[in-house]
């Protein structure tokens, strides 16, 4: 298990390069024209985007508002199919006598408890007298929308329609085939050369010329020239590729102080990314949640009962033990009240690093640009341990800026681009291509370097 990345692992680079050689990117072109390097990264982007779209479509048809409301109001304590801080919400309507009671419970649980309702009081005791938050501003329709959404969420294990179809089909790897083919051709060529040489030698002897003294191949100038050229091309490619790769850390997947699974939290339990990464909407950093955010839920959730988790090396992870590690950092002993001032911060290993001369702002992308987290971070909701999905190179950034459309019509900021609005209307500008980040100056130096 390695914690830091070692770029001296030449064999790895070598193998990866062999695999990459078929899309045949010229590393020198890479620096100057990013357009040509669209192959894999873009494909990945497209696949993940397609996957996300698939997910969204399946959920949104029924209750889009409900989902948003659920995520903003309920998701911090409730899950649909599992008990957490509060009970699982699936089938909640059936558990309550009347909808009215449910409404008033949601709006002001403390007041409702005082009415002496049997079910409410039972629930209250069942959850260690944890009072439910009050939502006096939720309207009946909004609560209905939440309930509708809750009903629409399939139980885990049930197939999510469409998701499988949208999943990325395995990329066909033809390199082996090409390799064998090239080898055969090379052997044939060699044999033909040998035959040619022998025939020439025969002809010369027959015509009475002195046969040329055969030059051994290692002194043959043609061979040497060919080898030298091949060496420089291949070596140059490798050197520049690894030089460019230095400082980048794609696939970096360090061991963290706590085995924190995004798969469990964001994937299975559907916790909204911004519940923990609050900064993503507000500013430069997405921010790693502080312990009090973790403890919001983990005050109640003290054991892991979900499906088995494995590290990248295949070792099984004991989820409950990991939660205990959290408690240790938090200075919390189950059963006793928690004193947040005792908490010590967790020293996570930072995965996504940008050089100091790059300015990156999460809010710009997530809030203004409405870019999904997965576009850059990969399918984070499927990752046990987080790994850096993309190389975070400048070419990768620029490619995306070239193709991504800005929220041109939806965001009032862009109303000042009157000319583009007119061009779009008059058809002078391709409305399917839209206004990309590049067309409003998003590939200029001082958008990221200052």
């Amino acid at each position: 298990m390695f914690v830091s990345i070692r770029f001296c692992q030449l064999p790895v680079i070598f193998l990866r390069a062999i695999k990459d050689i078929f899309p045949l990117q010229n590393p020198f072109v890479y620096m100057t024209s990013f357009r040509r390097n669209t192959s894999r990264i873009v494909k990945n982007c497209l696949f993940s985007a397609a996957f996300l779209l698939g997910l969204l479509v399946t959920n949104t048809v029924t209750a889009q508002d409900g989902k948003t409301l659920f995520n903003t109001n309920c998701a911090s304590c409730h899950q649909v199919h599992k008990n957490s801080t509060g009970p699982a919400l699936a089938g909640v309507e059936g558990r309550w006598e009347s909808k009215e009671k449910l409404y008033s419970w949601i709006r002001n649980s403390a007041a409702f408890l005082k009415t002496g309702d049997a079910y409410a009081n039972k629930l209250y005791l069942e959850y260690n007298k944890t009072a439910m938050n009050q939502f006096p501003n939720l309207k009946d329709e909004e609560i209905d929308a939440i309930l509708k959404y809750v009903a629409s969420v399939p139980a885990p294990g049930a197939a999510v329609p469409g998701a499988a179809a949208a999943g990325a089909p395995a990329e066909e790897d033809n390199s082996l085939l090409f390799g064998i083919l090239s080898l055969i051709l090379a052997v044939v060529a060699l044999i033909l050369l040998q035959v040619n040489a022998n025939l020439k030698k025969l002809a010369d002897t027959r015509e009475g010329h002195d046969p040329e003294v055969p030059v051994p191949f290692f002194r043959n100038k043609r061979y040497l020239a060919f080898l030298a050229v091949a060496f420089f091309v291949f070596g140059g490619y490798q050197v520049s590729k690894s030089a460019m790769g230095s400082g980048r850390s794609q696939d970096y997947q360090p061991v963290q102080p706590i085995y924190y699974s995004h798969k469990v939290h964001a994937g299975i339990n559907q916790i909204n990314c911004q519940y923990c990464h609050t900064g993503a909407y507000q500013g430069k950093q997405a921010t790693i949640p502080s312990l009090n955010v973790c403890m919001n839920c983990h005050l109640a959730i003290n054991e892991y009962k979900g499906e088995k988790m494995f590290t990248e090396d295949g070792e099984e992870v004991n989820g409950t033990q990991e939660i205990e590690k959290l408690y240790k950092y938090a200075g919390f002993e189950p059963g006793k009240p928690w004193d947040p001032s005792k908490a010590k911060p967790i020293e996570w290993v930072r995965i996504h690093n940008l050089p100091d001369h790059v300015y990156f702002n999460h809010a710009q992308h997530v809030k203004a640009g409405q870019v999904a987290c997965q576009t850059c971070h990969g399918e984070i909701q499927k990752m046990g341990e987080v790994k850096q999905q993309n190389d975070l190179s400048m070419g990768w950034c620029i490619n995306c800026h070239r193709e991504t459309k800005v929220q041109f019509k939806d965001n009032g900021f862009y109303s000042i681009y009157e000319k583009y609005h007119q061009d779009l209307k008059s058809g002078k500008m391709d409305s399917t291509k839209g206004v990309t980040v590049e067309s409003i100056g998003g590939t200029e130096c001082q958008k990221c370097h200052y």
Partner: protein
């Protein structure tokens, strides 16, 4: 219009050989690739190719070595995130800059828990968002490595508990609290409580630069022993007798703001205030005056008396000098024409002069209009007599305990020796100094105070206008507010915060009121009606007799003055302020003797009209050293020749020659001139009427920036750079500057001669070039600088330093022309060498739309953005410096050394840069860096970016709110710092933005610097209009020729 010639330097005035060579060369020094053939290979400096080989090899080696292993970086979140802190987003806290008596309401920008930038507080009715260079630089003082880090007794570290006990036991005899002016009402209460505990104790206020005569005069004529509230904004005629009210006098920030309202003009209905200035040594305020007259310091009393006489209809009496006489007549005329909207101020510390000034103000109806006697300016309260008495008492042994708050008399006193001797006789000495300054090192107990950014407090600069101080960072060291100490020692159980909170909560109707006031930073009270005060003329006659009977001084007289950045020495340890070129002399890192060109001829044998002699003086940094003798005290300093100095007067700045304890930046810089002041008529006088001055024959280098970043102009008279006219000329012929521009541009367009002026201006962008005119959809950033409002104070320069991590390079590097300021303020002279007109022009990257620097970069590290920014990409720059060479404005700066320590190789700067620069890279000092701006490394060019980080932030803010960009979203650092709102910035594409409005409203004054080059700058300047006596010649621009008129 008279054909003016502007000049920055004497070489330029004379068009000397050295000047002409200099403007051709980009860099001041020879390029270093000189090979000496006679030497062996090993002895030669590395030839270029070898150098490149080594570079290539070492880069490759370093790349291999550095890239093998990536360091593990940690991401450590808060254990419990405070609700109002989002990492990466700045919080702004209203607080107050307090330095001795100076008070400016500010807003501190706090990033991730540390204050990194000070901005003006717009809510303040006094300063209205203005700042000064010293306010801007104050954030660096917070991270000063020379700050005291713990309390000491006899130099040994103790805890505060131990110190409290020891002090309580040691307080003995008569207790005296000696402080600089305290503007805080609660602090005054704290002192009062303390004094009440110790009977026989008293509080003495002492100001380094005293306003004691003003206070005495006010007591004599108006029965008010204080300074009234001045209102320059109501004045249509301002006469200043040597009061540098825009630079250093009383409350320069507030006064600048007020002054500029009278100086900004509406093109359609041009009116402006008239400012007449009398001075002996050029000051910032004098440089901005409409009319400026020179006099000897000893003549000031006579001038004041003559002005009083003239204002009262008695004519100018007792003045022989014709120019001066005319000046006084003009001043009297202006004052009388604007009765009820006139103001006279004097910087003198002579009671008689101040009494006469009060009489003049009374005569011209200043009371109730430009002087509000109902309110007080509390920023200076020291009375010299009290301090003199205290020193006497100390020497007599009748003071048992001396507690020092802010005051530093061992350095600033005219009689430092007397004070130090007295201090030795005081049994218990306590200092609350933040640094081991000259007085603190002599004290037994030193309990360091917080920096203001760590403190709680309040300040009432103008009575009724309270500004609050709240901490913006947890105290960095083991320091404590002095108020806490005094409260403890007076037996009060509550700490100062509780005291402050209780006091204000009671006045403001509970904690909510206090919280609101703290959030706003200021308490907006309804201003009381102006009061004219009650004037008694009883003292005037005597004062006139005394003032006019002042003896004429000796051959040479001396004026001691404060510099805008350094003040009375408070700024001396701040590298930003030391490196800020003085607005008038353009010198950094030193004080010096200012002499006039006439005195230079006789004393230094330098005739500035002689090209060769001027060059010898100007081109070489070493300047002749002179020895000044004043009443037995001598001081040796280099001499600088500054036009606009009275021929028989020399000037020396105070605030230099400080102890090395207060910081590396102050160490060995300049000499202390406070000792040259003297006690005259009971007040400390900063002028001396008889001094001796001789040239020692030695030389001493002075880092003058005036001759750096020179650029030549085609006409050789710089009218393409600087445009100026008089109000009378403007009224007579408003379109003069437009016509002049059209005339300059005509030749650049084919067939331009046939076009009308307006057509030329319109067609210039398209017709002046082969290239297409580019679209600027969305945003086009633009800036406008109003030269009428700009006073040249330098606040913008320091603000730019702070915002953009501009590095300090130290004196040796400034001497080589390596200073890094992105924004410089050029000083231009025009007219008479002895008393020229001065104009200041802030010059930053002009963000040309057709930028010459962009075309020559071999790696496209500088290029143009669609928003009109000339972008500089440091990580792409390879340091060819072609761009700097091709920049017509010389605003690009090259990192000759690794000033910022940005390089990953440690110790690589040692030996290349001096201690000050190394100290700037201390981990503590680096906390001031703006995390949104790249710290540049050696070998790259940098320049003004229009604060692109702020532009991006402002745009994002608008995007997040889904609305178009507004002016309030984006304010660049220089614009924000400006106390006179001379700089306007915004989206020039928007119809509603301030920049569009300024350009539309001022078509006749707008011009671009070097417009005829067709570089299409993004910065408009509004021509300077001077309200001088009408001298318009009615010259018309017919045909191609300017008419030459003699001055």
């Amino acid at each position: 219009m008279e054909q003016k010639k502007y000049w920055q330097s004497f070489g330029e005035k004379n068009q000397s050989a050295a000047y002409n060579q200099d403007v051709k060369d980009e860099f001041k020094e020879e390029l270093p690739f000189v090979e000496d053939e006679s030497k062996g290979f090993l002895e030669t400096a590395a030839p270029r190719r070898d150098f490149l080989k080594y570079v290539g090899f070492s880069t490759a080696a370093a790349a291999v070595a550095a890239s093998c292993e990536m360091p593990i970086k940690k991401a450590i979140p808060f254990a419990n995130k405070p609700e109002d802190i989002v990492p990466g987003i700045a919080n702004y806290y209203a607080t107050t800059y307090v330095q001795d008596g100076d008070v400016v309401s500010v807003v501190a920008k706090v990033r991730d828990g540390r204050p990194i930038k000070i901005e003006g507080n717009d809510l303040s009715p006094v300063t209205k968002g203005g700042t000064s260079a010293r306010v801007q630089a104050s954030v660096l003082d917070l991270y000063d490595t020379a700050r005291l880090r713990f309390p000491t007794i006899d130099g040994k570290e103790v805890t505060f508990e131990a110190a409290d006990k020891a002090v309580a036991a040691a307080i003995t005899g008569n207790v005296v609290v000696l402080s600089s002016t305290i503007t805080s009402p609660t602090s005054k209460e704290v002192i009062a409580q303390f004094l009440a505990k110790y009977p026989g104790s008293k509080h003495v206020t002492y100001d380094a630069v005293s306003y004691s005569a003003l206070i005495e005069a006010n007591a004599a004529t108006n029965g008010v022993a204080a300074i009234p509230d001045y209102h320059f904004e109501n004045a249509k005629a301002i006469v200043s007798l040597g009061a540098d009210f825009l630079g250093t006098w009383l409350s320069p920030v507030a006064f600048s703001k007020q002054y500029a309202t009278g100086k900004k003009i509406n093109e359609k209905n041009p009116t402006m205030s008239k400012h007449i200035h009398f001075e002996s040594v050029p000051s910032l305020t004098g440089s901005n005056a409409d009319e400026k007259y020179l006099h000897r310091p000893s003549e000031l009393g006579a001038i004041a008396a003559a002005l009083l006489s003239a204002v009262n209809g008695g004519g100018v009496t007792g003045i022989n000098d014709a120019k001066l006489k005319a000046g006084i007549q003009n001043a009297a005329k202006a004052l009388l024409e604007n009765k009820g909207a006139a103001l006279v101020v004097a910087g003198s510390n002579d009671v008689n002069v101040q009494i006469i000034v009060n009489a003049i103000n009374n005569a011209v109806g200043a009371g109730g209009s430009t002087i509000n006697w109902a309110a007080r300016n509390n920023t200076r309260a020291g009375v010299d007599a009290n301090f003199v008495q205290l020193v006497k008492d100390m020497n007599a042994g009748s003071v048992g305990t001396l507690i020092l708050v802010g005051a530093n008399p061992a350095y600033t006193s005219y009689d430092a020796a007397g004070f130090t001797a007295g201090l030795a006789k005081v049994k218990t000495t306590v200092s609350f100094a933040t640094k081991a300054d000259e007085t603190a090192v002599l004290c037994k107990f030193v309990l360091p105070d917080h920096h203001y950014l760590e403190s709680w407090g309040d300040a009432e600069a103008i009575s009724g206008n309270v500004s609050f101080i709240q901490p913006t960072i947890y105290p960095l060291f083991k320091t404590r507010q002095w108020q806490d100490s005094l409260l403890k020692w007076s037996g009060n159980a509550s700490d100062y915060l509780a005291f402050l909170k209780t006091s204000w909560s009671a006045k403001l109707g509970g904690v909510e009121g206090w919280d609101k006031a703290l959030q706003d930073g200021v308490l907006a009270t309804t201003a009381p009606a102006f009061s004219a005060g009650s004037f008694s003329s009883a003292a005037v006659a005597n004062a006139v007799t005394a003032a006019t009977s002042t003896k004429k001084g000796g051959a040479i007289e001396l004026v001691l003055y404060e510099k805008v950045g350094i003040g009375a020495g408070q700024g001396a340890s701040n590298p930003w302020l030391q490196e800020l070129p003085d607005p008038v002399t353009r010198a950094t890192w030193d004080n010096y003797v200012i002499v006039s060109p006439a005195l230079a001829r006789t004393l230094l044998k330098i005739d500035l009209n002689n090209g060769g002699q001027a060059d010898a003086y100007e081109v070489n940094p070493p300047k002749p050293v002179v020895k000044v003798t004043v009443g037995g005290k001598t001081i040796e300093l280099p001499a600088l020749i500054i036009p606009g100095t009275h021929p028989e007067t020399i000037g020396i700045a105070v605030g230099y020659g400080r102890s090395e304890n207060i910081g590396k930046a102050a160490n060995g810089v300049g000499k202390n001139a406070f000792g040259l002041a003297s006690l005259q008529g009971g007040n400390i006088s900063f002028s001396n009427t008889s001094v001796e001055i001789v040239a020692t024959g030695e030389k001493y280098p002075v880092a003058l920036t005036q001759t750096h970043s020179r650029y030549d102009t085609e006409q050789g008279n710089r009218t393409e750079v600087m445009k100026e006219l008089t109000l009378a000329e403007y009224k007579h012929h408003p379109t003069e500057i437009r016509e002049e521009r059209a005339h300059e541009l005509k030749g650049q367009i084919s067939g331009g001669e046939k076009l009308s002026n307006e057509e030329v201006l319109q067609k210039f962008e398209g017709a002046g070039t082969l290239y297409p005119v580019y679209d600027r959809p969305g945003i086009k950033w633009g800036m406008s600088v109003d030269l009428n409002a700009c006073t040249g104070c330098g606040a913008c320069v320091v603000a730019c330093n702070a915002e953009n991590n501009v590095s300090v390079v130290g004196k040796p590097e400034v001497l080589r022309g390596h200073e890094m300021h992105w924004l410089r303020i050029d000083r231009y002279y025009s007219g008479d060498m002895d008393n020229p007109n001065v104009v200041f022009q802030p010059l930053m990257c002009q963000h040309c739309d057709n930028a010459p620097c962009e075309n020559v970069c071999p790696v496209a590290a500088t290029n143009h953005s669609s928003e009109g920014l000339n972008q500089m990409t440091y990580n792409r720059c390879i340091g060819t410096r072609y761009c700097a060479n091709n920049c017509p404005y010389k605003v690009r700066r090259f990192n000759w050394a690794d000033y910022t320590g940005a390089d990953s190789f440690g110790d690589n700067q040692t030996g290349h840069v001096n201690d000050v620069v190394l100290n700037m890279n201390d981990d503590l000092t680096r906390m001031v860096l703006n995390p949104d701006v790249t710290v540049r490394s050696r070998g790259v060019i940098e320049k003004c970016s229009f604060c692109v980080q702020r532009l991006q932030e402002g745009k994002l803010k608008a995007k997040k709110d889904s609305r178009p960009l507004e002016d309030t979203d984006v304010k660049v650092a220089c614009q924000q710092a400006c106390p006179t709102e001379a700089i306007t910035f915004g989206n020039a594409n928007s119809k509603h933005s301030a920049i569009t409005k300024v350009r539309l409203d001022n078509p006749n004054r707008s011009f671009y610097v070097l417009e005829q080059l067709h570089v299409l700058p993004g910065v408009t300047y509004l021509a300077k209009v001077r309200n001088t006596e009408a001298k318009h010649e009615g010259a018309k621009h017919e045909g191609a020729k300017h008419e030459e008129k003699k001055a």
